[in-house]
Subunit: 312 residues, 2 copies
């Protein structure tokens, strides 16, 4: 994987958090979490042109930011403020198929107001993590002329800030959400119909993440299904969707074009990075990867869905 200077720049806006996670593998405290933590690490394997905007408290271990910097990520936009870092406490069911939130302490994330530097304002690819829709819009208003804006959101905003979310969506190119969020946003259970409704809200493409059922890309009347690799060892599903998004956007930055063909390959790279992430706790599954390891899993994905075309 060459780190070409021709890579497009990728700007990531999201959360950096500490998670306490309970589940079948015991209770783990103060794990590094947050959407931007997964997105930036997954993307950094594809390009050194990643820049992060986030906020942490003065309790946040410096080593986590140092690690990102060492991976080539521009961390100058991770603001350190007086107060506590965003802290999520959750518990997974024994089979890891569901989770409940036990506690959420927003801390300094409660007042997060993303500030985009002049350099970041020129970003070509932008990933707006799941934050308050008006904040997403404020970021969009600071950007010069991004080639691709992708955004995530969540049930909370769909439920309590639908109007504001719709204003943001009108300016987003790609919405990346999970199946339940897509159904809630579109008020439609059927995913193909839900996608069609979302495409009328502004985005030119919508990516629906379905966990171990893979991800679907809908755009311009077409659809692409990225499979999920069936894994025998899943430890922690936290961050799977964010790692998917990071792999996808990182690959797009690496490839340098946004053709439908490249976007399909990027979806697979997203699925590859998601598969690494869930095999270990926190971001551990995204540590120590190499181009050959990523390539090997990409090839496994190709083999997973490969079949011969025939004529009846």
């Amino acid at each position: 994987m060459q780190h070409r200077s021709a890579h497009r720049s990728l700007l990531v806006i999201g959360s950096v958090a500490l998670d306490d996670i309970d589940g079948p593998f015991g209770f783990h405290r103060d794990l590094l979490g947050g959407s931007a933590s997964f997105i930036a690490r997954a993307a950094a394997y594809f390009t050194r042109n990643v820049s992060v905007v986030a906020v942490v408290g003065d309790d946040f271990p410096a080593k986590h930011i140092d690690e990102l910097t060492e991976m080539g990520v521009d961390t100058k936009g991770i603001e350190r403020k007086k107060g506590e870092t965003f802290h999520w406490v959750g518990r997974y069911s024994n089979d890891l198929s569901s989770r409940e939130t036990l506690d959420t302490k927003l801390g300094v994330f409660g007042d997060f107001a993303p500030k985009i530097s002049p350099e970041q304002a020129n970003a070509e690819l932008v990933l707006l993590g799941n934050i308050d829709p008006p904040l997403q819009l404020s970021v969009l208003e600071q950007l010069k002329r991004p080639a691709l804006v992708a955004a995530d959101t969540m049930n909370l905003w769909i439920n309590i800030k639908r109007d504001e979310l719709l204003k943001t969506l009108a300016r987003v190119h790609t919405l990346m959400i999970n199946d339940e969020e897509a159904r809630l946003l579109a008020e439609e259970h059927n995913l193909r119909r839900a996608a069609a409704k979302i495409l009328k809200m502004g985005p030119s493409s919508v990516i629906i993440k379905r966990g171990d059922a893979g991800a679907l890309l809908f755009h311009g009347g077409g659809v692409f299904a990225a499979p999920a690799l069936p894994l025998s060892d899943v430890k922690d599903p936290t961050g799977a969707g964010d790692s998917f998004a990071g792999g996808l956007m990182g690959y797009l930055a690496y490839a340098g074009d946004l053709s439908p063909k490249t976007i399909r390959t990027a979806m697979i790279m997203g699925s590859v990075m998601g598969s690494f992430a869930v095999e270990e706790f926190s971001v551990d599954g995204l540590r120590g990867l190499t181009a050959p390891k990523i390539q090997e899993r990409f090839d496994q994905m190709a083999e997973l869905v490969s079949f011969e075309s025939i004529r009846l």
Copy 2:
């Protein structure tokens, strides 16, 4: 699609039923149902070498059997007995994502004892529908030397006849079940691990049907994921899994070989036939299909998962 005499013979053992189905599209009474009804129709598009063993009551409309005969299916093994046809009454949720059984009247199916004719005993491919495991075993004992025995089962038998089911599985080549059944049988939530456990019970391959998440084939250390086509109009999920099984086995009979390559293509044909089935009530979605229509949907499946291999 040529109906070559070289096609392998396919023997189907299953239920033929009348269903009353309630759901978002209203209440429909006396719909043709039962596993063999879907399997045989789906398979008949690929080969005229399909033979069915089933039982119906004297209340069963002759037209349903006549239709199968006209499709080239050998229906001599569909026994008509005094009494009522197996009758299932169910209700789907408004979003079609779940269903409940309201009533089950076994009727003549309660005493079903499959009788295999000397000609049927020579069948090369056999699909054992979901019936009492000792009955499945009795069929196996009547067969001469089948090249491939595939079997279905259900939660009921896994729960109350596990020992008998294990005896049957020891002689089955391919088990086709849904994800919940696989988890129950293997006592393991993770599907890759569940499949590995099932492969130790006898079958050399296991196919796990996941509804709109597609189907997974596990065999010899390898895995293949057949996608499900995202459909905008789903009316009745009843028989989707049986139509999948019929398309798969019918294509294997048509292709004439059981190579891994052919089995992958057969999985896609299964998914194609399942997609047609759910778009209409009962077996209506399997009526009036043609080779070009099947080919078109097969090609859509290929396009759905196609992506370019790259080197990082």
